[in-house]
């Protein structure tokens, strides 16, 4: 069966928008339950941390360049370099370290 790219996109966009839309529009009141509140407070940090590692070392050609990008990125983030600075630095670290690795191997 031949599939239509535009229907794929429509299905995908609809599912994703519903996921994003429902909680924020349905939950209109302040949640007072302390456990639930704390849960929602911790969610962003946990989810982004889970997504960052070990994915960052799997994304690169060598796990070492990815590991180095993680360490240097974390240190720069610790000193508040900001989104763009940390992102660009991580890319640069990978680019340079992989050049060196290629040269050495």
């Amino acid at each position: 069966m031949k599939h239509n790219v535009y229907i794929y996109i429509l299905v995908m966009a609809a599912v994703i928008y519903l996921i994003r839309l429902l909680p924020v529009t349905v939950i209109r009141k302040k949640i007072t339950n302390k456990t639930l509140k704390s849960f929602l407070y911790y969610v962003p940090y946990v989810t982004l941390a889970v997504m960052t590692f070990p994915d960052i070392i799997n994304a690169t050609s060598s796990i070492w360049s990815g590991a180095l990008a993680l360490i240097i990125g974390a240190v720069l983030a610790y000193f508040n370099l900001g989104l763009f600075g940390v992102a660009v630095s991580s890319c640069a670290v990978v680019f340079i370290s992989e050049l060196i690795i290629k040269y050495l191997v």
């Binding site: 790219v5 909680p23 639930l36 849960f39 911790y42 940090y45 960052t52 050609s61 763009f84 940390v86």
Partner: protein, 238 residues
Amino acid sequence: MKENFKFFKKGMRDGIPIALGYFAVAFALGIEAKQAGLTAFEALLLAGTTNASAGGYAAFRIIGEGGSYILMAITQLVVNIRYLLMSAALSQKFAPKTSVFKRALVAFDITDEIFGISIAQEGYLNPFYSYGAMIISIPGWAFGAFFGVIMGNVLPESVVTALSVALYGMFLAIIIPPARKDKVIGFLVVISMALSFVFEKLTFLGETVQSFKVIILTVLISLAAAIFFPKEDEENEA
């Protein structure tokens, strides 16, 4: 009115680095799109209407292999389910009177990064802040994918690999500064990364369970944290 414009501008400013990072990541995504047989316009449309990275990768795999629409729907539900939690967290960040329309607009672009900077705002979130960030970053994402399809094979492999970590760099920039201020968050970041690593090694769980990794770990770790380290009420905070 004037206040809203101020927040809009602030959002645009904070959206610039995100847009540049998005451009790089979406560029890599566009290369995948091309391999799946999409045109530049189709990649632009897909990226611009979905604003999802992992979802994009999964989508191109399904389209490339000619998978069913049902598979597409279920896969997107699984891969993007974390946005359900982010959306719930964001519901508490708005002033309770914020209209459904404004909430629905912001909801369109609940991405890891836009969510990250929105939740990091002090006090209640002015939706115009998110609008400003969206108007800058969505084109960055969409056109990144567009140019990835057109020019993907012009760039050397080493550059594309380097660009692929831009996203993770941004994640670090969002989670590390709060981790410095709040020891519990710092502890959670380390634990989350460690458990994420361990989870991937549990290959006997199978691919289906593995594909739920982000949501399973997010729920378990955040729940444990909520029970052991309940957040004290801060009257002025949202």
